[in-house]
Every structure is written in C-alpha cells, then in structure tokens.
Chain length 208, copies 2
C-alpha cells in the first residue's frame, strides 16, 4: 500500500486520493483539529497535538489527511489548496498581479467547488469558527502573496486584506445574495472590472 | 396622544419614539411582514396584506411601525434608514460621490448601530431570509442612487452592485473577521482607500 502523504506523482491529496479511513476516527481527528486550529492558529498547532486531542497516533493523522496544511484545509472544509491557486500569480509581473489573481480566484469559485466555497464562507459568517477562517485568511491564503507586494515595507498585509475585502464582497453579492445583473455577469467582464481595484490595492499608493 | 407616524418634528420614528405596543401583537406583525416581504419583495407587499397576515387592523401596523418602509426596516432589523444616510450623497457632484458615499456608510457602521448592522448581515449570510436582504439591497438601498449613476443608460444597477460588493467586503473583513491591520485602520484612511474604488464603479468605464 502506498502512503498517500508521499505519493510519487506529487499530486495534492486533499480528499480525493486519500484513504477515507474509519469515519469515527476521521471525525474525531477533524473535531480536535478544528478546536486546536481555532484556539492556537495554524503555526502554533502541531499534528502531534491534534493526534493527542483525538486520542490517536500522529501517523494516523498523516495517513488520513496528509500534511498539516492539508489537515487544516480539510478542517475548514475548503476543497482547494489556495497556495496552488495562487502559485501562478507569484511569477507574474507586478503590474499584472491584479488581473491574474482575479482570474485565478474566480476560476475556483466558478468551478464545481463553488458550493463548498460558499458553504464554508456562510458558516464562517454565521459565527461558527470565525477564528478558523481568520487563520485561513491570514496564515494560509495571504501569507504567500503578502511579502510580494510589501512596498513600501510594512504595507503587504493591509494590501492583501484590501484585496480580500473586494473578493469577499463579490462572493457575497454574486454567489450568496445572487443579485442581478452582477450574478450573471460573464467572468471575463467581472475580471476586467475587479482587476484594476485589486491592482491599485496591491501596488498603488495607500494613504497610510 | 400624538400618532408617531405623523409627528410634527419630522424625525424618523423607527424604533425609538414609536410606541412599543403589545409585544405579542408587534411580534405577530413582524413575523407576517418578514414572510410577505421575503416572498413578494418590498413593492408588492402592502401594509394591508401584512395586517391581514397578522390578524390585525392596518391602522395598528401603522401605529406601531409607521410607514411601510419603516415596517420593512424593522423587519430586517436595520436600525437606520439607508435613504436618510444616502440623502446627502444625492446632491454631491458626480466625481465626489465615491468619497461621500464611503463616508456616509462608514459613519453608520462606526456608530453605536454597528452591532445591529453586523448581526443583520451575519443572519443574511447564514441563509436566514436571503430574499429579505436581497430586497433590502435592490429595492431599498440601491434604488435611490442607481438612476443617478445610470450612464451609459442601463449600467446604474450594476454600478451600485459593484459598490455594494466592495462595501460588503469591508464589512466582512473589518467588522466580522476583524483581521488586522484592516480592522483598526482609522476611518479617514479607509475612506481614502475605498473611495477611488467606489468612484470608478460609479462613474468609470465598465467593460459591459
């Protein structure tokens, strides 16, 4: 049997490809993971502490979920690893990041993953696990791009959070409230409209 | 006894200043109002139909809640009439609307009304009464400003919805997720950052 955490084809495991395992054990691990990630954030939570919270061996956690990052994504019910979505954007010339980033994110939101993304967002807004979603944004999603747009130094996080604000707002109006005509706008038009906003937040002057 | 719906000082009644009335009756009226507004929208719901749904006389609905608009605001738990917030913006030169609108909205969100605004938004996101909130946005909030920025003709609603998307996103990141540094940014800085985005959505070129 191949250990899915070290599969040789290098594909991300996440849910598909990973052994489903015993449902009770999986569920105990996820419960412990949610609690600890919410309490202590991503960095300060170890796979060992999750295993211990669930009363299982660390190896079993890796076996069911893969890396700590994959465990985290499973625990927030996010079916796509944002790092993989954002990866192509990292190599983009700075003045094209806005457009590339908008397209990368919408390509997930417009995919079959949409219901899972909307459900995770709704749940976070309802007050369930707000700390988990904050951790997801700050320690997982924004961390990769923040340093790339940290000019002048110290502004990177705010820039990424402004980007997050515009994208979250599109999620709310287009996918949750479904107000027309915004909800039916072709993605190309949406990218063309939103990209300059993201670009200004990423590389424009900020009054701070 | 003065009928609060026709008070001579012209102040908005909403909750304060209106007679609290019998809690059961109020609550029956609100339940009927939520149901009918959600089902039929704002325009197609009459005070008479709400009264009938609650098994009371129309005069009693007016007596407790004032106008249909005030009844609607009470039924979505919004403590401030958005028309009154937006009113000063309507007289603004077109190229200053973005900045004035941002300041007008943040002046409510940063006021003691903040918890009520956040609670209403959270509830809408959780899937409770999404139609009510859609009605609130489309038929109450956006209707006043849409025609003002309908250039070229037919783009007004999309422009206002793009504005709503950016503002909703700030609500999510600053007030619900409370991510720093965005959550603690002084309002003046926030207005300066967001205003050009709103302005472009309101009067800039759209690729549609």
């Amino acid at each position: 049997m191949t250990d899915p955490a070290t599969r040789t084809d290098g594909t991300p495991g996440l849910r598909t490809g990973r052994r489903p395992g015993n449902p009770d054990t999986r569920s105990r691990i996820l419960t412990a993971a949610r609690k600890l990630f919410a309490q202590n954030g991503f960095d300060k939570t170890s796979v060992r502490s999750v295993a211990s919270g669930a009363g299982v061996d660390s190896a079993l956690v890796h076996h069911y979920f893969g890396t700590k990052r994959q465990l985290f994504l499973a625990s927030v019910d996010i079916p796509v690893d944002p790092t993989k979505v954002i990866a192509p954007v990292l190599d983009t010339p700075p003045d094209e990041i806005g457009s590339r980033l908008a397209r990368a994110v919408f390509s997930v939101w417009e995919s079959p993953h949409k219901p899972a993304v909307v459900a995770a967002f709704r749940s976070a807004m309802a007050g369930n696990e707000p700390t988990l979603i904050r951790t997801f944004l700050l320690e997982v999603v924004l961390r990769d791009l923040g340093p790339r747009v940290d000019e002048p130094p110290g502004t990177g996080m705010l820039r990424m959070q402004l980007v997050a604000s515009q994208m979250a707002g599109v999620l709310v109006t287009r996918y949750i409230l479904e107000i027309e005509p915004l909800a039916s706008l072709p993605v190309d038009d949406l990218v063309a409209i939103v990209a300059p906003t993201l670009q200004r937040y990423l590389t424009g002057d900020l009054p701070v």
